[in-house]
């Protein structure tokens, strides 16, 4: 393991952990469910991708880094689906305050 790869890996790991922490802070501080979902989805995904990118060069072989690619692709696919499902379910349950929406294209009258 060369020193340069070590430095790149360390920077990526720290940046990823930082994104996760910032996302969690947003989740704690934002005022309502939809803004919290925004903070829960995107920074966490970026953080996880950066951590996995930092881990990949340290695994040593392509075959042991492949599951990490799988996790990354899977996270990219599932994070929007999860957020969409939670937001839609919350909207249908009446948890979302209509006054906080600037545009409502669902065509429902709540």
């Amino acid at each position: 393991m060369s020193a340069a790869a070590d430095v790149v890996s360390a920077v990526l790991l720290l940046a990823g952990a930082g994104f996760c922490a910032v996302g969690a802070l947003g989740m704690l501080r934002f005022p309502d469910l939809l803004t919290r979902l925004h903070a829960a989805t995107k920074p966490q995904t970026i953080g996880l991708l950066l951590v996995l990118a930092g881990l990949a060069p340290r695994t040593g072989s392509v075959s042991s880094a492949t599951p990490l690619l799988l996790v990354a692709v899977f996270q990219l696919i599932t994070a929007p689906v999860t957020a969409q499902t939670i937001a839609g379910a919350a909207y249908r349950s009446g948890v979302v305050d209509p006054a906080t929406l600037t545009l409502d294209e669902t065509g429902r009258t709540t």
Binding site: A10, A24, L28, Q44, V71, T78, T82, A90, V95
Partner: protein, 91 residues
């Protein structure tokens, strides 16, 4: 590398605590489901950081499993919570 390990784990631990606070405070069921989903992602990140420093490559499969379980869990929980809320509204 041990300083990086400590710093990354400290950041992830802080994220874990903040998400846990949101899990406890709610206020709605959907906030809690969202917090649990984020906890699963944070767990994957934490194991990945640990794997990077300790060099246990066998953990990669565990990451895939936890990511899958987190996704299936939060999506089905959201569906169930919505169904329960709709039933309560009708009653």
């Amino acid at each position: 590398m041990s300083i990086v390990y400590a710093a990354a784990l400290a950041l992830l631990g802080a994220a874990f605590l903040m998400t846990g606070a949101r899990l406890v405070r709610g206020p709605s069921t959907f906030d809690r489901i969202m917090a649990l989903d984020v906890l699963a992602v944070l767990l994957v990140s934490g194991i990945a950081v640990h794997t990077a420093v300790v060099d246990e490559t066998a953990n990669a499969t565990v990451l895939v499993v936890i990511a899958l379980m987190g996704f299936v869990g939060s999506v089905s929980a959201a569906h169930l919570a919505a169904a329960r809320a709709e039933r309560r509204e009708r009653a």
